[in-house]
Amino acid sequence: MDSLLEIKNLHARVDGKPILKGLDLVIPTGEVHAIMGPNGSGKSTLAYVLTGRDGYEVTEGEVLYKGRDLLTLTPEQRAGEGMFLAFQYPVEIPGVPNTTFLKEALNAQRKYRGEDPLDAMEFVKLMRRKTKELGISDDLIKRQVNVGFSGGEKKRNEVLQMAILEPTLAVLDETDSGLDIDALKIVAEGVNALRAPDRSALIITHYQRLLEYIVPDRVHVLAHGRIARSGGKELAIELERTGYAAFAEAAA
């Protein structure tokens, strides 16, 4: 099995402060991995470094995606290569309808990949199919991007975008935080529906709860900027029981 993502000795800092300190991680194609860890361990930093956000400075190490250097690509090139981030805090864009946003995004990615853009009709059909599959109301897609959405609606919207953009590597940054059980199931269904031999996912979470619905192939514990431990899905259950205290001490 080829690895889709290969992170080697990754060091990164934010505002001059080192956050990631030698992180190693391999995600083979077709697998779902979970990263768990205490607050402040660098989980979100990892998500932003992978997607190329300004201000997240890589000082050492490398990241290979599909066997190529990921870090030289712009955020939109990474998106075009099939990388998707479900944001922990989805951003509001006033005045821009959700449908317009998604159509622009999808066609920009299609163009990057040398595919023809979808016309308005094709896009509407695709949108209808996906909202139906996920049980998301039409109302949500007509509204302005995330404007006035509840926390749950924002997360559902992220999952809808993911379903439409069909990423090769989906990174979910605490998508489960603040969700009730119904919303959690929608998120899980969205991820599970995308599971395929040629796709992978990285689930960043603080709690084990989401992993009851998305069963990961591997679980990693991130503490103090490094992977402190890796294991199978049973590791998540163990963490739920013991908490992160052990990792806090280990690095203190």
């Binding site: 997607t51 190329g52 956000r53 300004d54 712009t74 955020p75 939109e76 990474r78 998106a79 075009g80 998707f84 981030l85 944001f87 989805p90 951003v91 509001e92 864009i93 006033p94 005045g95 821009v96 309808p97 317009t100 946003f101 159509k103 622009e104 995004a105 999808l106 066609n107 920009a108 990615q109 163009k111 990057y112 308005a120 302005q144 991007v145 975008q161 953009l165």
Partner: protein, 487 residues
């Protein structure tokens, strides 16, 4: 908003980031001698075969203009204008009022085709509401389409020079009644030397069956354009009117000093939309149009309504304050504006809402975007007179800054003399957030497309006011205008 991506493609295909409408039409023109004098005013009036009263009106304005100082209130800077270094009359030679579209110089037809303005009526598909166009090329109207169809309803839509001949009573009654010649120096100059423009009269109770549109084109070098538009909506009528403007790229500045007067009688409604895309000058601020325009509407009748929508992306300097005088009880004034200034453009624009009648209402939505070294000012007046019982105003002014060399200014004046009136003004200034840009880029949009998307969203409330055909065009313009402002 599909427009933004499409637009970027178009612009890239052109191979250079330049003004799309910057070409010059090679056509024989008849031009008055350079400079301004009573003789030139007489020349223009004679050329138009005008009645004596109008010549007198022009001469009076001219003499007044000589005495008037330049308006100083706007936050714009430019060297003093040499009024003697310009031509005040320029007309395509063959175009002394064509009798039918077939007589139009094919070179002109090609020009308007290039600009995307349909001058051939048959191009419009049956069953689709058409747009009637009056095309003004330099100093004269070269074509007006759908005149016949409009006449069936009693709608008069023709060049103002024609209206002066054919409908002198209407022109004489209303010309200068909203914007008197002495209103300001630019309006005064226009009164003296205006050459053409559109005249519209919608009879009582008629809902104009199609959008009316005037397309202004400055072509000749060193030529000022001074068009005059007069639009009267009689009781119970409705009209939607659009204007668009472009000019070739020239190194020198050209003056455009237009006057637009709107009159709405009882229960009448006028919707006036402008997409202004005069040549803005190059990226170093060389050349471009000085767009000094006086636009004002009078809601004379009860329950009348005037709505201004403007998308201002062009011109080196824009100076305009489309205003509403709300005289009739329950009358409504609206002003929706998007102004984009990039590079070294300057814009000082806004509106005046003068509440005189009872229960008059006004709404102002202004969205300003400044990039590059541009300076932009919203300047507005909301005045509630003592008799305007129950008047209401709501104003929202938002500015967006792109880059740290530009400026945004908000200067509202609020004057209220009536206790029952409610005036609300809100203004904000901010920049496009990094979060928004990153979110869009993470979904695959380039930085420029992301900016265009966010800016179009910022302007949406205003762009929505435009008729459909114009809205799409305007969205593209928004994106093009910001080319090169990021990165």
């Amino acid at each position: 908003m599909a427009a933004s991506i499409e637009t970027t493609q178009q612009v890239q295909e052109m191979g250079e980031r330049t003004y799309k409408y910057g070409f010059v039409t090679e056509i024989e023109t008849e031009t008055a001698p350079k400079g301004l004098s009573e003789d030139i005013v007489r020349f223009i009036s004679a050329k138009k075969e005008e009645p004596a009263w109008l010549l007198e009106w022009r001469l009076k304005a001219y003499r007044r203009w000589l005495e008037m100082p330049e308006p100083k209130w706007a936050n714009v800077t430019f060297p003093p204008i040499d009024y003697q270094d310009s031509y005040y009359y320029s007309a395509p030679k063959t175009m002394d009022g064509p009798n039918s579209l077939d007589e139009i110089d094919p070179e002109l037809l090609r020009t308007y085709e290039k600009l995307g303005i349909p001058l051939k009526e048959q191009e419009i598909l049956a069953g689709v509401t058409g747009v009637a166009v009056d095309a003004v090329f330099d100093s004269v109207s070269v074509a007006t389409t759908f005149k016949g169809k409009l006449e069936e309803q009693g709608v008069i839509f023709c060049p103002i020079s024609e209206a002066i001949r054919e409908h002198p009573e209407l022109v004489r009654k209303y010309l200068g009644s909203v914007v008197p010649p002495g209103d300001n120096k630019h309006a005064c100059l226009n009164s003296a030397v205006f050459t053409d423009g559109s005249f519209v009269y919608i009879p009582k109770g008629v809902r104009c069956p199609m959008e009316l549109s005037t397309y202004f084109r400055i072509n000749a070098a060193n030529t000022g354009q001074f068009e005059r538009t007069l639009l009267i909506a009689d009781a119970g009528s409705y009209v939607s009117y659009l204007e668009g403007c472009t000019a070739p790229m020239r190194d020198e500045n050209q003056l455009h000093a237009a006057v637009v007067e709107l009159i709405a009688l009882d229960d009448a409604e006028i919707k006036y939309s402008t997409v202004q895309n005069w040549y803005p000058g190059d990226k170093n601020g060389k050349g471009g149009i000085y767009n000094f325009v006086t636009k004002r509407g009078a809601c004379r009748g009860r329950n009348s309504k005037i709505s201004w929508t403007q998308v201002e992306t062009g011109s080196a300097i824009t100076w305009k304050y489309p205003s509403c005088i709300l005289q009739g009880d329950n009358s409504v004034g609206e002003f929706y504006s998007v102004a984009i200034t990039n590079n070294y453009q300057q814009a000082d624009t806004g509106t005046k809402m003068i509440h005189i009648g009872k229960n008059t209402r006004s709404r102002i939505v202004s969205k300003g975007i400044s990039a590059g070294h541009a300076q932009q000012t919203y300047r507005g007046l909301v005045k509630i007179s003592a008799k305007a019982e129950g008047a209401r105003n709501h104003t929202q002014c938002d500015s967006l800054l792109i880059g740290d060399r530009c400026g945004a200014h908000t200067v509202p004046y609020i004057e209220s003399k009536n206790r029952s009136a409610i005036v609300e003004h809100e203004a904000t200034t901010s920049k496009i957030s990094e979060d928004q840009l990153f979110y869009c880029r993470q979904r695959g949009l380039s930085e420029e497309d992301a900016v265009a998307l966010v800016v179009n969203g910022f302007c949406r409330e205003v762009l929505q006011q435009l008729p459909m055909e114009f809205a799409v065009e305007a969205q593209k313009l928004v994106s093009i205008s910001l080319e090169g402002s990021v990165g």
